[in-house]
């Protein structure tokens, strides 16, 4: 049985089991992200005025909740080797659905449910085009990015629907008990646990990893590649719709261009958190740490009155650096394994 895995052309090993346990835990990508996160928190608390205040944590978590939510299914999607660029447009579409239906008289609960259904349908369309028609996910999701955003903007124009019941708006921003942690964190923790169990502790999750490593081998192992990918895209759509509902209630404004550009933040955080863009590798806790890192960095910089464009430069550079560093490390490792041997580049990567 092990001959199958040993014969794959791609030599990607993620843990050299010859190393001691402490090395295997500390020298991983995820540990690096944790380290960076703790470092940023310490430095910011010491140097930035007003950072170590209760209200900072509150605003920080409120701001990054959409990214946290969407990063969960996005991790699974990227691990299978696909990508979903349309998540931000689904956020906008669900926001507009919520707004227009509520404005049209529907109670907010029903409008919210409708928004979730819209998100599921959007994800299903993505999934259909990718799995049944067989189109590459990059192209499809670029198209649906434009399509869903276009539908959202088309429905509302550039008006915003800003009348919502106080109860739901307050709920979106309410805090747990006497702490400053927003209540949406409960929702996020539940979803994170669900996804973590799904990815790391079920056969479905192992199937996701297998598809990322080699779709052919996964198919021969009996995993239904198409069905798995379809489910992942539907999940991505539903969670994006949920994030859209939260976004609308938190800002109290449903607009066609809500959350434009959010997909970049999500992908940046996911890749920063150790998920390989080639698929087959990654862990959810790393992704959560990645989102927290980007969010904390952004919050600290904003408080230090550094403008958001610098924050964007840093995010972009982090994204590039995180992916390039993986490549560089892999190259260094290859060179060390075969000293003075063949040039590493000739064993051509089959992906990318």
């Amino acid at each position: 049985m092990t001959e199958l895995t040993a014969n794959t052309a791609v030599m990607r090993t993620y843990k050299e089991y010859g190393r001691p346990l402490w090395q295997r835990i500390l020298f991983t990508r995820e540990a690096a992200v944790y380290g960076a996160l703790i470092l940023v928190i310490i430095v910011a608390s010491a140097t930035v005025r007003n950072f170590a205040t209760p209200i900072t944590l509150n605003y920080l978590l409120l701001d990054i909740t959409p990214i946290l939510l969407i990063a969960l299914p996005m991790t699974l999607v990227i691990i299978t080797g696909e990508i979903d660029l349309s998540v931000a447009s689904i956020v906008g579409l669900s926001s507009v659905t919520l707004g227009t239906l509520h404005q049209g008289g529907l109670p907010i609960e029903a409008a919210g449910l409708a928004a979730l259904v819209v998100g599921a349908i959007a994800g299903a369309i993505n999934g259909f085009l990718i799995t049944v028609v067989g189109l590459p996910s990059l192209a499809v999701t670029i198209g649906t990015l434009a399509l869903y955003r276009g539908l959202a903007v088309g429905l509302l124009g550039t008006t915003a629907v800003t009348q919502y019941t106080e109860f739901w708006k307050d709920l979106a921003k309410s805090k747990i008990g006497g702490t400053t942690i927003p209540s949406v964190m409960i929702l996020f923790v539940i979803l994170a646990l669900v996804f973590a169990i799904l990815l790391h502790f079920t056969a479905f999750g192992r199937g996701v990893f297998a598809i990322g490593l080699s779709p052919e081998a996964a198919r021969f192992s009996g995993i239904s590649v198409e069905r798995t990918k379809f489910i992942l895209f539907v999940l991505s759509g539903v969670v994006s719709a949920l994030a859209g509902i939260y976004y609308t209630l938190r800002f109290g404004s449903a607009r066609g261009d809500n959350a434009t550009g959010l997909e970049l933040s999500v992908i940046a955080a996911v890749l920063l958190g150790g998920v390989s863009i080639f698929g087959g590798r990654g862990a959810l806790h790393g992704v959560i740490a990645g989102v927290l890192l980007i969010g904390t960095l952004g919050s600290a910089l904003r408080l230090a009155s550094i403008t958001s464009d610098v924050i964007n430069i840093i995010t972009g550079t982090l994204l590039v650096a995180s992916v390039v560093s993986t490549s560089v490390l892999a190259w260094v490792r290859r060179k060390r394994i075969r000293p003075g041997g063949k040039k590493p580049g000739s064993a051509a990567d089959t992906k990318g």
Binding site: I38, T53, P54, I55, T162
Partner: protein, 348 residues
């Protein structure tokens, strides 16, 4: 990968370690949370005032905020300006949240939407920050004072009068507005429609388009308007960004001179177009004075001189004394018409 059981236990260990670290982080956050933030001490008023216009890169707000800066430097406070790049309601919310965290003394805001930023502003007010709106208001409950440049009726009327005069009181006109939600825009447009219906029955308003206070969008929307309505006689643009972009398009277009353009604009931006006849006349007030007055109003609120109730009086430096009117609004003055005769006298 699928057959190594040791992977699973290492993964489990990793997952629990992750959970532990996250819990530790959250606990740190809560522990830090038990410190009380430094409140304002009784004696020294916090005169750090930040201007939050609708968006950045807008010449009108550059001028008004510069007026505010002048006032703040006069009375020894600290000035800052923060705004999103695009005029969206949720963009402003993030900045207001950050300013709340930074515990500034006062905010001077021109709102992109009457209700969307209310929650953020109320949180700021709960933290002791005074909030003054200027140029574009929010709902009156959300803010302490509103500095209005002129009455909305006056602003609407002057533009309708100008366009009616320029097109001979009959024909098709269109409005090129800013963002669709802006309180002031919508107020003026409604009043313009009422004025047209009541006093100018031969003028037909064919469409209201939105340039989003973005130069390129306004430019393209003007082109589209001229394409779509071949009988258009006039365009009214109650936004300085829109009128400047429309004038620039008209200048190189066949419609120059045939389609009249008016609205609210700054003399510096429109001087070329007035001199070559693309624009005959337009209106505005002095935005620098508006910012100046708003800064002094914020100062009066912070120092406790006034509370924003009707009848309160406060000093506004070189502009003199001002009284608060109904619903917490303070009037700057009347709109002013600029044309070829007087445009050389102004520099803003």
């Amino acid at each position: 990968m699928l057959f190594h059981t040791s992977t699973r236990s290492t993964r489990r260990a990793g997952a629990f370690a992750a959970l532990a670290v996250t819990v530790a982080l959250v606990a740190t956050g809560c522990a830090a949370g038990s410190e009380t933030p430094a409140g304002e001490t009784g004696g020294d008023a916090n005169l750090a005032i930040t201007f939050v216009p609708k968006n950045l890169g807008n010449a009108y707000f550059d001028t008004s905020d510069a007026g505010g800066k002048e006032a703040i430097e006069e009375f020894g406070g600290t000035y800052d300006e923060q705004a999103p790049a695009e005029g969206t309601p949720d963009g402003q919310v993030s900045f207001i949240n950050t300013l709340t965290q930074q515990q500034v003394g006062g905010l001077v805001v021109s709102a992109n939407d009457p209700t969307a930023i209310c929650d953020a502003i109320n949180e700021a007010r709960d933290a002791g920050i005074k909030v003054v709106t200027f140029d574009s208001d929010t709902s009156p409950e959300c803010r302490d004072l509103f500095i209005n440049q002129a009455t909305s009726e006056g602003i609407a009327k002057v533009q309708v009068d100008l366009i009616a005069e320029q097109i001979g009181d009959e024909g098709e006109i269109a409005i090129l507005s800013a963002t669709a939600n802006a309180t002031n825009q919508n107020a003026w447009i409604e009043l313009m429609k009422t004025d047209l219906a009541a006093n100018h029955p031969n003028i037909k308003l064919v469409e209201v388009v939105y340039g989003d206070d973005d130069d390129q969008t306004s430019f393209d929307k003007t082109a589209a308007l001229l394409q779509t309505y071949p009988n258009l006689k006039g365009i009214v643009s109650p936004t300085t960004v829109g009128i400047a972009a429309a004038a620039r398009y008209l200048q190189t277009s066949d419609f120059k001179g045939k389609v009249q353009l008016t609205g609210l604009g700054t003399p510096n931006q429109l001087r070329d177009y007035v001199e070559d006849g693309t624009v005959t006349a337009f209106a505005l007030w002095n935005p620098a004075d508006l910012g100046y007055l708003a800064a002094y109003a914020a100062k009066a609120l912070i120092e406790g001189d006034i509370t924003g109730a009707e009848g309160d009086e406060f000093e506004a430096g070189k502009l003199g004394k001002y009284t608060v009117g109904e619903k917490g609004s303070v009037l700057l003055g009347d709109p002013y018409t600029f044309n070829a005769d007087n445009i050389a006298d102004f520099n803003f």
